[in-house]
């Protein structure tokens, strides 16, 4: 039965271009969204143009200048081998970007596919996939990564694999829930009554409706992925030396904690700014485009 609530009127939009314009203006007008956008752009720019911004070769040794504090020559000081921490941080951003970009795109693709299969496919497939997602989620991420590293040895590819496997369930579940909700809506029934095929329904009518929330979730997942990479590298289980990564810079700094605080500070700040940036941006996007998207995972 239709119960219309007429107490809070909504004005139907008369054209769609002004609608997206209103949303963009809301994003830029919101200081959190603006801060997030600036930080995210900074992250991409510093990683992509690291060779331009760097003042030193990140792996060049300068033993006489080891463990120096910030100066004009070394903006963020040097480590125990005299390498320039500022330049190493810039190059470390490239590793973070690499893991986040590759990991999340692969995981998005798989999540979309598996989620739609679970949501639209037969019941047994749904149950099997759900169990699979539950099992993966039941492995505490870091503990699982440790077990894998114990057997396979540290590498960047392993980090990528861990990131992909652990983030797929999040996307797949989101897609599954929306697909299941959509499956029983009248417009999908209407498509079936019209004789539209399986592929047409999934691609033309379900995908456009689930893809938006996925991108918002992806933005909010970047901090998680970057943290996993930094964390594993911090434990010495990620990228191999001498490649610079925020995690390995922090690890070296941790071992020198009584001698100099600078590597810890310099390695941590970009990590915090990146996670903060993506979180702010993701939240702002969610508030504007999809206020009802899950608040937690």
């Amino acid at each position: 039965m239709f119960a219309t609530r007429s107490d809070s009127p909504t004005v139907p939009a008369r054209d769609s271009s002004s609608e997206s314009w209103v949303k963009l203006r809301r994003l830029l007008g919101n200081w959190q969204g603006m801060t997030g956008l600036v930080l995210v752009i900074l992250f991409f720019a510093s990683a992509l143009f690291a060779p331009v911004f760097a003042t030193h070769d990140p792996n060049a040794l300068d033993i006489p200048a080891r463990l120096s504090g910030p100066s004009l020559a070394h903006f963020a000081g040097t480590d125990q081998l005299g390498r320039d921490t500022y330049s190493r941080v810039l190059y470390g951003g490239r590793v973070a970007l690499q893991v986040a970009a590759i990991g999340i795109s692969v995981s998005l693709a798989f999540g979309l596919l598996l989620g739609m299969l679970a949501g639209y496919g037969p019941r047994w497939l749904d149950n099997a996939l759900l169990l699979f997602f539950d099992v993966i989620r039941s492995f505490p991420t870091i503990v699982m990564a440790l077990a894998a590293v114990a057997l396979l040895g540290p590498s960047l590819n392993l980090i990528l694999a861990i990131v992909i496997v652990t983030t797929i369930p999040g996307y797949a579940r989101l897609v599954r829930t929306s697909t299941m909700a959509l499956k029983n809506t009248e417009f999908i029934l209407a498509e079936r009554a019209l004789g539209a095929g399986f592929g047409r329904i999934l691609w033309r009518h379900i995908t456009p409706n689930v893809i938006g929330p996925m991108f918002i979730l992806a933005a909010m997942d970047v901090p998680v992925v970057v943290t996993v990479e930094a964390g594993l590298s911090f434990l010495g289980l990620g990228v191999l030396p001498p490649t610079a990564s925020w995690g390995s810079i922090l690890n070296e700094g941790y071992l020198l904690i009584r001698e100099t605080p600078w590597p810890i500070i310099a390695g941590g700040i970009p990590l915090v700014l990146t996670t903060l940036g993506f979180t702010f941006l993701g939240e702002a996007l969610r508030d504007i485009f999809d206020p009802r998207l899950g608040k937690g995972r």
Partner: protein, 675 residues
């Protein structure tokens, strides 16, 4: 006596992302003590905003811009938080539209009622409980001592609404406000609730305000009426006077549009052309001017004032300005009179298009953990039982039933969207139930479906153009010039061509429904199954859609299966009716015969349950008690026996077979009301 509530020049605005909406403008009316005042209007009229402003419970973005609301000569709008709390619930209380969402799911009714009664400090907890139980009993909850300890989800819809009334009356308020009290209920429950409200109002000497879009409800229940349109009160007065001689052109059109008012069946329903004005920029002149058949020049530029019309009747219209020379209002003829064309096809002799025989549909219930074990059969719930019907080419069959009757399932299973358990569905003699989706697909060109929700049944990320062209993409990809096709379809359903580039959420309900009709008719099918074609539409738009469907039927010889809970609407457009109850067709035959002389007691209750927009014909009797049972717990014997006043032992023991009557109808009853 005097007035309990006096509303003067009330103005309310809502700020939205797209500008400020002036939802109420200079609303003034009185609520006399001990009377029932009905506030009537279509969606967007601001009728609910009045009561939320009164209780200071406007949505966050709403603001009272001016005016006063005097309750016992004190302005409610100036109340501080404490007096407001004392006012709400104790002096004025509300019965909500939807009992499913307005009762907190995690508290039992007893807890909820004790929370309301916290003010009675002199009462002990036991006394408060006693009082709450007495009130539950008064509103007709059986076994209230036990049931009051239950939670909302354990009550049926009708019981929930009764309990909602009990909660509202718990503190014996002077003013009872009912916000669409029956909109969420089925027809038979609606009649019961109207009856209960009237009884309680008399017993408690309460003053009432009833907000509704349903003229029938207001005519049945109220003493006075306030008609609202686009945020203004356009007419108010005594219920009898207003219904007998509506003064404002809008009131008149609204009454004309109500399908339940028309006693003689007419193929075309009156409508009000046009749309609501944009309330961000209300028109300078009269709010109704754009849709008014009698608009004068001054109506466009000058805002009308309230003028007296009949006895105790006031109308905001220039036609009634006594100083103007052309004050002709009193003698206006009624709006467009309904034309009654002949039947398009003599359907009795036409060949059978769809034939359903003994159709059985059941859903699997989700059983307990045992159901996960292999080899265990999960319990199933029968949704359709032994359904048989024939649909002849060119005729219109109305399928009527309350929620849970299986009418929607029947429509969907004919199209193979819901698998049948047993039985047969034949289309032009071809068996459909055994067809796989692939084999079914070509047939779908010949049978289209229109779904309930006008906007929700359109894929939200597609433009109107691609939506109405989609049938061609699926079945005839090489159909020729797509632009020409799209425009031809838009013209066919009178959809302005500039809407082709819009998305569904940018359309009004009526426009979206036209898109649905265009999609259904794109491939020129023979059969159209329309599920609640008028649901979610205002009365003034309903007729528009039905007239369009009727015109297209005559033009193309279409066959319609119209599924609806709304008997008065279906009756005007159907040749034959089939009445469903708990998954069975309990009566089927000629439309007028069934409507005037129902054979099954349930049909009789449905026909009597229609509230008629005529205050001179109020019904005294409520012919049917109780709620629709759940299909999961089917009563033994005749499924209707528990609610049937003619039921005998035979009915309780044995399910009646379908039997023909002398006039060609069939009925499933041991004791049909006519032979």
């Amino acid at each position: 006596m005097g007035n309990l509530v006096e509303i003067r020049d009330l103005n309310v605005s809502f700020s939205t992302a797209r500008g400020s909406v002036r939802a109420l403008r200079d609303v003034s009316f009185d609520v006399p003590r001990g009377r029932i005042v009905g506030i009537v209007g279509e969606s967007g009229s601001g009728k609910s905003t009045v009561i939320w402003a009164m209780t200071q419970l406007l949505a966050e973005n709403g603001r009272v811009e001016g005016g006063e609301i005097r309750f016992e000569d004190r302005d409610i709008l100036k109340y501080d938080a404490d007096s407001l709390r004392a006012f709400r619930g104790a002096q004025a209380s509300i019965v909500f539209q939807d009992p499913m969402t307005s009762q907190i799911p995690v508290k039992s009714y007893l807890q909820q009622m004790l929370d309301i009664a916290y003010r009675n400090r002199d009462q002990s907890r036991a006394e408060k409980t006693e009082h709450a139980i007495a009130m539950m009993r008064r509103v007709g909850i059986p076994d209230p001592e036990q049931r009051i300890r239950q939670f909302p989800h354990q009550f049926s819809g009708g019981m929930r609404q009764r309990t909602g009334i009990a909660m509202a009356l718990l503190m014996h308020p002077q003013l009872l406000i009912a916000d669409e009290p029956t909109t969420a209920l089925d027809v038979t429950m609606e009649a019961q609730v109207i009856h209960l409200l009237r009884e309680l109002q008399r017993e408690f000497q309460t003053t009432m305000m009833v907000v509704s879009h349903n003229l029938g409800l207001v005519a049945e229940l109220c003493d006075e009426i306030v008609v609202m349109y686009a945020g203004e009160v356009v007419e108010r007065g005594d219920i009898g006077t207003v219904f007998a001689s509506p003064a404002h052109p809008y009131t008149r059109a609204l009454i004309d549009c109500d399908p339940a008012r028309v006693l003689e069946r007419s193929r075309y329903l009156p409508t009000i052309p046009g749309e609501l004005p944009d309330l961000r920029r209300p028109p300078d002149g009269c709010v109704f001017v754009a849709r008014c058949p009698h608009a004068l020049a001054r109506c466009h530029s000058e805002r009308p004032r309230d003028h007296a019309a009949g006895e105790g009747q006031s109308v905001r219209c220039h036609l009634f300005d006594p100083t103007a020379p052309q004050a002709t209002g009193m003698s206006l003829p009624h709006g467009q009179t309904a034309a009654t064309p002949n039947r398009a096809v003599e359907s009795v002799d036409a060949p059978v298009l769809i034939s359903v025989r003994d159709l059985h549909v059941s859903y699997q219930a989700s059983g307990g953990p045992r159901a996960l074990l292999p080899g265990q059969k999960r319990p199933s719930i029968d949704v359709l039982v032994d359904v048989s019907l024939d649909l002849r080419r060119g005729e219109t069959l109305g399928l009527v039933g309350e929620s849970g009757s299986g009418k929607t399932t029947l429509g969907r299973s004919i199209l193979g969207l819901v698998p049948a358990k047993s039985g047969s569905v034949r289309f032009e003699g071809r068996e459909l139930t055994a067809l796989g989706e692939h084999a079914f697909r070509p047939l779908r060109q010949n049978m289209a479906m229109m779904f309930q929700d006008p906007i929700g049944s359109l894929s939200p990320r597609q433009t109107v153009r691609s939506l109405i062209l989609e049938p061609f993409d699926v079945h005839r990809p090489d159909a020729g010039d797509r632009d020409a096709l799209a425009e031809r379809l838009a013209d066919m359903v009178n959809l302005p061509r500039e809407l082709l580039s819009r998305y569904p959420h940018q359309l009004s309900g009526g426009q979206a429904r036209r898109v649905g009709v265009a999609r259904a008719l794109a491939l020129e099918p023979q059969l159209i199954i329309a599920d609640e074609p008028t649901a979610g539409l205002d009365v003034s738009v309903q007729g528009d859609v039905l007239n369009l469907m009727r015109a297209l039927q005559i033009e193309r010889g279409l066959t319609y299966l119209i599924i609806s809970h709304n008997l008065p609407v279906v009756r005007h457009i159907s040749d034959r009716l089939a009445i469903m109850y708990l998954g069975r067709i309990i009566e089927q035959g000629d439309c007028e015969a069934i409507f005037h002389h129902p054979a099954h007691p349930y049909t009789e209750a449905l026909v009597n349950g229609i509230p008629r927009p005529d205050p001179t014909q109020r019904r005294q009797l409520v012919s049917i008690e109780g709620d629709v049972p759940s299909v999961a717990r089917r009563p033994a014997g005749c499924e209707f026996h528990a609610r049937c006043r003619y039921a005998t032992d035979l009915c309780r023991a044995e399910s009646p077979a379908e039997r023909p009557l002398s006039d060609g109808r069939t009925v499933r009853c041991h004791y049909p009301l006519i032979d």
